[in-house]
């Protein structure tokens, strides 16, 4: 047991060990982003579809599912941030005297601002959770649909009504995708999966996922901000929803 703990500790202490932790947690977080984006797009399927999906997420495995996911994501995020900050501090220390005349030949702009984009994304995640998960705004917190469930659809449209919040989302998502344009490709390199044969495919996959996420996440605040998607109000299709509401509220 002592030997095993020693090996794990040596792994964490090493440069490559911490990088592998960053890559694996990054992979889990990218997986979450893909699922999150796909779920978000249910907004375009209407109030019922989105709210039912949200209800399902909150009640899968008798309500335990969402907490398993949340704890997993929180642990991944904490490890990801902790390891990258430790690595960045070492990197800064590895060259005390900077070049008076430096040059860049290969490094992308995104790759050179990973710690900045990462810290802005961290601030955004905190804001986003307070905005739509904790719902510190009581107006958003108390919205119910006809079935008596939390009205995610109405909340999202109301939440993106103002230009300030929507623009912050646009900036944060763009920085997130800048982070991913370097991050996803780096997962393959750090896990040793990038070879001469796979280099092209990993680069294409990395850019593909990044662009899809950028478009998929931004289409929601932008279509709401420009009034393309509007909340028709709970009264639209009222009679049908009212019947469903009475039948579902009986079950609870």
């Amino acid at each position: 047991m002592k030997g095993l703990i020693n090996s794990v500790s040596l792994f964490w202490q090493s440069s490559i060990g911490k990088k592998i932790v960053v890559a694996v947690t990054g992979l889990l977080l990218v997986g979450f982003l893909v699922g999150h984006m796909a779920g978000n797009l249910l907004l375009f399927a209407g109030r019922e579809a989105l709210n039912e999906y949200a209800y399902f997420l909150h009640h899968m495995l008798h309500g335990a599912g969402i907490w398993i996911a949340r704890i997993g994501l929180l642990v991944s995020l904490v490890l990801h941030v902790f390891a990258t900050i430790a690595l960045t501090a070492q990197n800064r220390a590895a060259r005390k005297e900077r070049y008076a005349h430096g040059a860049t030949q290969a490094a992308s702009r995104s790759s050179r601002m990973m710690i900045i984009s990462g810290l802005v994304i961290l601030a955004f995640i905190i804001f986003h959770i307070l905005h739509f998960t904790v719902r510190i705004d009581p107006e958003l917190a108390e919205m119910k649909d006809a079935a008596g469930h939390h009205d995610v659809y109405g909340m999202v449209i109301k939440g993106f009504g103002g230009p300030v919040v929507s623009l912050f989302y646009v900036v944060a998502i763009t920085l997130l995708c800048s982070h991913l344009s370097h991050g996803i490709a780096s997962i393959f390199q750090t896990l040793g999966l990038r070879t001469r044969k796979t280099a092209g495919a990993t680069r294409a996959l990395s850019w593909g996922i990044t662009v899809v996420l950028w478009l998929g996440f931004l289409v929601i605040p932008l279509t709401i901000l420009f009034g393309i998607v509007k909340d028709p109000g709970l009264d639209a299709g009222h009679s049908q929803s009212a019947v469903e509401a009475s039948s579902t509220s009986d079950k609870h």
Partner: protein, 250 residues
């Protein structure tokens, strides 16, 4: 041709150091970069000054001794050559050239442009060898080695240990060097049995020397005078992960 030089001068390891301007006059186009500094040094000596100190040895591009960050790029922006192989015809009359030492905490400046790269020697001493005597060169093909592996090992073995990868890396990481040296032996039947031990020891020594961590920006690959691919870094990551897992359970 006449050039303006901005050269890092530092009297000794503990000196603060600064950039000093020099005029390089009447430099022949066919002179190499190091010969250009030789000409400037002759003038400095004539004027009673201390010549600019820099590392060099074979001046044939194979020993790995010359260094210099030229206009921000190790061995200049010319691809696939060392500083000694850079010729002045690559510059224009009247150019300003910045000349700095390879910078990394693990490569302390000894004097002017000379840095101490013995951290690389200690990484090799940690595991960049085969423990048993493998004898003199055996007959070709008496030890069968697949062609693709022989080629990959040969590409990795092209590393001359100059340190351009460290100098160009935004984090002063030595992953391209360590990756090349480990891959060179790990790919061959003579080195394969000690693969795990070698990778763990070399990476731990590399970390202990105070090099930074690779952030996959591929500056090293662009600066390497032997054009070693960052594939060796991917392989080092993979080999290290496997070796760590084996170490943890065995």
């Amino acid at each position: 041709m006449n050039l303006k030089l901005k050269v890092w001068r530092q009297a000794h390891a503990d000196d603060r150091g600064t950039i000093v301007d020099y005029d390089a006059k009447d430099i022949p186009e066919e002179a190499s970069f190091l010969e250009m500094i030789d000409i400037v040094n002759e003038q400095i000596i004539e004027d009673g000054g201390e010549p600019i100190h820099f590392d060099h040895d074979c001046r044939e591009g194979i020993c790995g001794m010359c260094s210099l960050n030229i206009n921000g790029v190790p061995h200049s922006k010319e691809r696939g050559i060392t500083t000694c192989q850079v010729h002045m015809r690559k510059f224009n009359d009247g150019d300003t050239i910045w000349i700095e030492p390879f910078r990394a905490k693990a490569f302390p400046v000894v004097k002017d442009l000379v840095v101490d790269r013995s951290a690389f020697d200690r990484i090799i001493a940690a595991g960049g060898y085969v423990e048993v005597r493998t004898g003199s060169a055996v007959d070709a093909n008496s030890v069968p080695i697949p062609k693709d592996k022989a080629d990959a090992a040969f590409d990795a073995a092209a590393c001359i240990g100059c340190g351009a990868c460290v100098a160009s890396c935004k984090n002063a990481s030595a992953m391209l060097f360590t990756g090349a040296k480990a891959a060179h032996l790990n790919l061959l039947p003579q080195g394969e049995p000690e693969k795990d031990k070698r990778v763990l020891a070399m990476v731990r020594q590399m970390d202990a020397e105070g090099f930074g961590n690779c952030t996959n920006q591929y500056e090293c690959e662009a600066a390497c005078p032997k054009e070693i691919s960052a594939d060796v870094i991917s392989k080092l990551n993979r080999d290290y992960a496997i070796a760590s897992a084996r170490e943890a359970v065995s």
